[in-house]
């Protein structure tokens, strides 16, 4: 698939501070792409460059094949940007706010009526359309923000920390809306600090640190990389002390470790000597009852820490 966003060797300086230092990555069409990095890594700068609010000083950024430095209007017609801060006309009602942006994008009165109705339904805000925005909860306001982003029916959504400050329920509901939007074929580029949700939601991810790309690619690739010896996570009936020695005695098992606070163990194997099928068979042969079994993947948190802490964790 053609990339929707192509970023090549982009460098951006704010006076003496190098906010971006040659970052390079791509976002595929129709994907839900996570964008992660510590505070000050350059996430918001990258987002502002993509959405044409900043001009790149060096390197190239293309969105839908258009250069952000030159084809600003063509890009803006096809993108929707939700900034990380609450920026709303709080004195307007929800309907007025969306209708205003619809008109600002050049839609006629009839078109606006339909579009605003659609985005209100999608974000489940039609019951609150006549409420003043200032009276809405933070979660509701975030939905209105998302509805505003959708008013011009963008192909690419750029969301900067959309879930920050939301309670768990509002966060889950927001994630559901994003899944629905992906199903509708939108490309979503989401910057967030909530890694567990990104891991669950995104197809691909880019991690940046101090203005440099640390990883960019499929989510699975990130979670599985750097595991030379496959590790399996399993839950076995009985007390770990009773079966750890048994597991360690299986051919090809390199080590077994218990997981603190969980009734599970992690088993590392030498893939030249055994594999998952053989391991399972050997465990069953030892008369142990397996409750669950699966390939152990790293958490996005671990990958993030590994990539951004510059080798502190080895």
């Amino acid at each position: 698939m053609n990339p929707v966003i192509e970023i090549k060797n982009v460098t951006h300086l704010f006076k003496q501070h190098r906010a971006l230092d040659g970052i390079t990555f791509e976002v595929a069409s129709g994907s839900l792409h996570g964008f992660v990095g510590p505070n000050g890594a350059g996430k918001t700068t990258t987002l502002k460059l993509i959405c044409t609010l900043l001009k790149p000083q060096a390197g190239q950024i293309k969105v839908f094949g258009y250069d952000v430095g030159y084809d600003v209007k063509a890009i803006r017609r096809r993108i929707g940007f939700m900034p990380d801060h609450f920026s709303m006309y709080r004195q307007m009602t929800v309907f007025e706010y969306l209708d205003f942006f619809g008109a600002a994008y050049g839609f006629s009165l009839t078109e606006r009526t339909r579009i605003v109705g659609d985005v209100l339904a999608l974000t489940d805000m039609d019951g609150r359309k006549n409420d003043l925005i200032q009276g809405l909860s933070r979660g509701m306001q975030q939905r209105v923000s998302l509805a505003r982003v959708l008013v011009n029916d963008p192909d690419l959504l750029l969301l900067d920390e959309p879930a920050s400050g939301l309670d768990p329920r509002a966060r889950i509901e927001l994630m559901e809306i994003l899944r629905e939007l992906r199903r509708m074929g939108k490309t979503i580029f989401i910057s967030s600090h909530i890694l567990s949700e990104l891991a669950e939601l995104c197809d691909s991810v880019t991690i940046i640190d101090r203005g440099k790309t640390k990883y960019s690619g499929p989510m699975e690739g990130l979670l599985e990389q750097q595991t030379v010896n496959p590790i399996f996570r399993m839950r076995i009936q009985g007390e770990p002390d009773d079966f750890i020695a048994v597991l360690e005695s299986i051919h090809g098992v390199l080590g077994v470790e218990t997981m603190e606070g969980r009734p599970e163990v992690r088993v590392a194997i030498n893939q030249e000597l055994t594999d998952s099928n053989r391991l399972l068979r050997d465990i069953l042969d030892k008369q142990l009852t397996i409750i669950n079994f699966g390939r152990d993947q790293r958490h996005l948190n671990d990958a993030f820490m590994d990539l951004t802490e510059r080798g502190v964790r080895t």
Binding site: K48, C51, T52, L53, L54, K73, R76, R77, I79, F81, P83, H85, F86, S87, M88, Y89, R90, Q91, M92, T93, F95, E96, D99, F100, F101, G102, A103, A104, Y105, G106, S108, L109, R112, K129, N130, L132, Q134, R148
Partner: protein, 521 residues
């Protein structure tokens, strides 16, 4: 309480010392006084008492500076904390209402006093130049300080009562406007009630006496007496004592209302009472945006929409009626078209400049405070088109003022045509009108620029600073021209027009660059 107050005062003074802008402003004021001195010296051949002239100038500059500071500098004392939502934090840290009030008010008072103090060397020069005595200078400064205390406390009370800097500033302007003009209008109206009917009741006399007393509280009306030849009154006049007492009462009221008025935090861009009430009476029928969405938004949410325009039209009609009646000694039979035309013209022109200043300083600032400028910048159109559309939406708010000028034109068309003919046929009239028009445009640009670069705390000051700079500049220019004895005025005005045009273009460019930068902040 004392420690907490001093902590706040120290923080404010440290910030003031580190920031170069207050120092720059003090230098600018000193330069203004110096320039005034120079122009008076240039004109000294035609003056009998140049020292007195210099000091009178300085006195009136100070008076209006202090009055404007009340509506800006002092009216932001508590509102800046309200808008930044830091009052709650202060209260949680155990800082009480009195400590906050004192801690926010005292640094402002010190700042204003510093501005007055830097002029003292020049006032000594005034004595050397002749025409003014130490006793007059002493009495004038005491009158000014009492005025400062009163105005500072009006600003403080407004900042306690109102939720935002804009509304506090507006309330303060209203109070100061009434303070200066209401007694004069009321006395005139009351005296008119006595004369034609011949009815003189004790109540009327008491009310007239009250108006006289209120007039005596105003320092500005005392200056002619202070600067008069043979001044030999007490330093602690009625004006000084009454200003101090009134200021003290206002300070007490600020303290009493502090807790009640600072219970709830406010958010930027809160709906006004007008908006809320309009929303309630609309019964859920949302207003639909025009196709020109940006114009619609600013017309409805900055200007207030048709309803506010209608209210303003009625208010202007009432104001014109009162002013015409005042001019004609409250005898409606004497009113003619000329009176109405003249009053409409004066009021229209004054309000045109005031409203323009308000619009240009709010139109972009509101987007900045609500963090919405980046959203508008994302629209698929140029930033210039967005900026001009917004301005146009705000300018619709000038319709009542333009209506006022139109009435003036309809009442006295011949006068208007004469003036227009003069402007079009006489070079000096054309140049002078062009120059002052350019000055007004320059002031508007300066106000707009200051409104988008100023820290949140000094935004209302931007209106004042822009006006003050332009007015002072023009006072200097006129003084210089007087000093030159009218030689080659046309040439000078032509050069000044060119300079003003260039400065406007530069400011326009800088403002546009600032708006571009704001979109990515």
């Amino acid at each position: 309480m004392i420690n907490k107050t001093f902590a706040l005062v120290r923080r404010a003074l440290q910030a003031d010392t580190r920031d170069f802008r207050p120092h720059l402003f003090r230098c600018a004021l000193a330069f203004t006084v110096l320039f005034t001195l120079a122009t008076i010296q240039m004109n000294s051949f035609s003056r009998t008492a140049p020292g007195k002239d210099l000091f009178t100038w300085v006195l009136y500059i100070n008076y209006w500076f202090i009055t404007a500071a009340g509506a800006t500098f002092f009216a932001t004392a508590i509102t800046e904390e309200k808008e930044e939502r830091t009052l709650g934090l202060m209260k949680m840290a155990g800082v009480g209402g009195a400590a906050i009030l004192a801690g926010k008010w005292i640094p402002r008072l010190i700042g204003a006093l510093l501005l007055i103090l830097i002029q003292i060397p020049f006032t000594v020069l005034a004595i050397t130049l002749g025409g003014v005595m130490w006793s007059q200078i002493g009495a004038a400064y005491i009158a000014l300080l009492a005025h400062l205390f009163l105005v500072g406390n009006i600003g403080l009370l407004a900042s306690v009562l109102r939720p935002t800097m804009s509304s506090a500033s507006g309330l303060c302007v209203l109070i100061l406007f009434l303070f200066h003009l209401l007694p004069m209008f009321a006395r005139s109206a009351l005296q008119a009630m006595i004369t034609p009917t011949g009815v003189t009741t004790q109540l009327l006399l008491s009310m007239i006496y009250l108006c006289d007393t209120a007039d005596q509280m105003c320092a500005m009306w005392q200056f002619p007496e202070i600067m008069g030849t043979g001044f030999n009154s007490l330093l602690l006049s009625f004006q000084v004592i009454s200003n101090l007492i009134a200021g003290g009462i206002l300070l007490l009221l600020s303290w009493l209302f502090f807790d009640i008025c600072t219970r709830n935090d406010i958010e930027p861009g809160e709906a006004t009472w007008l908006n809320k009430s309009r929303h309630l009476v609309s019964f859920g029928n949302a207003r639909r945006s025009w196709d020109a969405a940006l114009i619609w938004k600013d017309f409805h949410y900055l200007v207030g929409g048709l309803f506010v325009l209608l209210i303003k039209c009625i208010a202007y009609a009432v104001a014109v009626f009162v002013m015409v009646m005042f001019v004609e000694d409250w005898n409606w039979r004497h009113i003619d078209f000329d009176d109405v035309g003249a009053v409409c013209f004066g009021l229209g022109l004054f309000m045109l400049i005031v409203k323009l200043a308000v619009i240009v300083t709010r139109v972009y600032r509101e987007e900045m405070t609500q963090n919405t400028w980046s959203l508008l910048s994302m629209l698929p159109t140029s930033l210039a088109a967005i900026a001009y559309a917004k301005l146009l939406g705000g300018l619709i708010g000038l319709l009542p003022v333009l209506g006022c000028l139109l009435v003036s034109f309809l009442m006295v068309p011949d006068d208007w045509m004469d003036v227009i003919e003069d402007i079009l046929t006489e070079a000096d009239a054309f140049l002078i009108v062009s120059y002052f028009t350019l000055q007004a445009i320059l002031g508007l640009h300066l106000g707009a620029y200051l409104s988008v670069i100023a820290r949140w705390a000094v935004w209302p000051l931007s209106k004042f600073l822009a006006t003050f700079t332009i007015v002072m500049w023009n006072v200097m220019v006129i003084s210089c021209l007087n000093g030159m004895g009218g030689r080659s005025e046309e040439g000078i005005f032509f050069i000044l027009c060119c300079i003003s045009g260039v400065v406007i273009l530069v400011l326009h460019y800088i403002l546009s660059q600032r708006l571009v930068a704001m979109s990515s902040e």
